[in-house]
Symmetry: C2
Subunit: 375 residues, 2 copies
């Protein structure tokens, strides 16, 4: 299955070697047990909310450490075999610098005879187990999500490599005109060069297009990233790696409604509850909330819409149950203010004051006082 000419020499990540080493060690361990006529076992972290802990200092939900043991028995033999085949597929992917989506991995299994998966959810579960077992994110194992998303423009050079020649490719995100650089599904191999002062992460494609069209990144010396709604894994990981390696702040500009605040901003910053073993890689703890804040609706006299029932439910639920909103008094207060006003405002509502008010007034005023951004 490895492609001719495929080679790992250019991906050049230490993480690849580490993962390969871990795979080899676990395989030798299991092989050794079998040769010694003992029952081989794999210890997997328990993946559920009951095994999650929130450490404000680390900034994301993380696994609490409970493990379940998968021992080879008559009952577990199929799952055990599937887990090992999935690990073997991962090894093959890394060694041949290839990738497979969850769906492709499922179809590949159709050739595993008795170990084949009947339905994709089964293979997804085994993949999640493997991911948690090696305590890395799926992308480091060569497995990539189906969905793509995230556009970039501005003062950033992304360094990728040509797979055939091994040559470095310098992708200058100031040179895309009204277009943009589209973030690949897996970003582990990318490196960055930038002198930008901050990353501005934007919810809607329309607002992103406005800022790109007007070269806003020149004026503000920044990098613009469009999430296009709830950010994909690749988009979150890209922002995280960029912000970490270049040590630049991340400011988030979304709609002023419970969805923008919890589903988009909160997910970007601290991750989500049901995939805690991934938050370590995919959250962006350094993110700060630029706007639209509930107070902006007042200060900038924005046109609003009434909160929908689902908004009200979401806001009340966040105040009561979301450990992130509960931890930060500022967020509890902001959610209460929104509920009290009974309205929401879209980021494009700033157009009431002129299409480019956002560029000429709103963003400069906000960026003059980043210490006021919500946490």
């Amino acid at each position: 299955m490895p492609r001719k000419g495929a080679s790992n020499k250019n991906s050049g990540q230490g993480s690849n070697k580490k993962v390969l080493k871990a795979i080899r060690e676990s395989a030798e361990n299991i092989h050794g047990k079998i040769m010694a006529r003992k029952k081989p076992t794999m210890k997997l972290p328990v993946r559920s909310l009951s095994n999650v802990r929130y450490q404000p200092r680390r900034g994301f939900f993380e696994m609490a450490g409970q493990k379940k043991e998968r021992t080879l028995t008559v009952n577990t033999v199929k799952t055990f075999a599937q887990t090992l085949r999935m690990v073997a597929l991962s090894k093959e992917l890394i060694e041949s610098d290839d990738i497979a989506t969850k769906r492709e991995a499922y179809y590949v299994s159709k050739n595993w005879e008795d170990a084949r998966f009947a339905e994709q959810p089964e293979s997804d579960t085994v993949m999640d187990d493997v991911e948690a077992f090696f305590a890395v994110n799926r992308e480091q194992l060569g497995f990539i999500p189906e969905e793509k998303g995230g556009d970039v423009a501005g003062r950033l050079i992304v360094i990728d490599h040509d797979r055939d020649t091994g040559k470095a490719l310098r992708i200058d995100c100031t040179k895309f005109g009204s277009g943009a650089y589209s973030i690949p599904i897996s970003v582990e191999q990318l490196q960055f060069e930038t002198k930008a002062k901050f990353i501005l992460v934007i919810e809607t494609a329309g607002m992103f297009q406005r800022l790109v069209k007007h070269n806003y990144w020149k004026q503000a010396n920044c990098i613009l990233v469009s999430m296009g709604g709830v950010p994909t894994r690749a988009c979150r990981r890209f922002i995280r790696r960029l912000a970490d390696t270049k040590k630049i702040p991340v400011y988030v500009f979304v709609d002023g409604d419970p969805y923008g605040i919890t589903n988009i901003y909160r997910t970007l910053k601290v991750g989500s509850g049901n995939a805690a073993h991934l938050n370590e890689f995919f959250c962006v703890p350094q993110a700060r909330f630029l706007g639209i804040t509930p107070q902006d609706i007042v200060d900038y006299k924005l046109p609003t819409h009434p909160l929908k029932e689902v908004d009200i439910k979401r806001a009340r639920d966040a105040i009561k149950n979301d450990p992130f909103v509960r931890h930060f008094q500022e967020w509890t207060k902001a959610m209460e203010q929104l509920l009290k006003m009974g309205v929401r405002a879209e980021q494009q509502a700033l157009a009431k004051h002129g299409l480019n008010y956002v560029i000429d007034t709103y963003l400069p005023e906000k960026l003059a006082k980043p210490e006021r951004f919500l946490p």
Copy 2:
């Protein structure tokens, strides 16, 4: 509202000048009538299925020519004023080389005093009227959709311009590594250079990423475009302009199911019924269907899923009511074959034969006989 430094000198499209001229003429016409104390009128095409005709030779649904007249009366004064203000906003956008999303246009109207819109659907309708009135697509009026979508990699240089300096920007789509060029929301200003033999348009981001990762465009000398599901307006317009100006064929590679065939391929090729005044600009009549065909499922022994109820309904409906499927016997037969087999296959099902079987075997075999592609 025009931005300082904004200038139209670099957008350099004849289409801009034509639209501005049409706007000026219609305004002078209305102004003249008013000065002569006559009632001004605007003739708008009727936008409904009853006013649509299908000409196989032209390749898309088009308006049949019925018009409605909007005369200034006590009852129509508000809509009339709103229509004129929307036209004025368009003129301003074109002259200042700016853009506005439908939502922004709605918010801008909040400053139109009595002519302001109460809800966005009202302003959307007026915008559709203006679009149909000038017989151009919204993007040519400076109005852009909210959503973005469509990635490009391969043997193509896109020529855009830097808005500040006016310099041409040559965007080389062979130089993005595992990333891609993200199509902007409006593509009217773009120019192209390419020696590619064809454009391969792909449904899923996962398949696109595989072909990009393996530099498939080198091997096949082509341009890869990812639709990421149903293509956005910008993505469809981009493919159309590229295929028209460079006279290269368009091959479409989607899932082998009624959704991939009708909702994705059919929409891309001939447009949709409810926006017939736009199909002229957004359809890609030269598109041909590479796969996954129902026959591919047999020939390549693909793993399948049973057709869902919604699939069966969609296929039956297409055979009965879709003028496109009805026109082409090949499509009627293909849909019937799918219904008879009772199964569907995803494009990634090819992974059963190895992850890169699609690159090494399937695509080369299909591309050897493009005359066999479905119409």
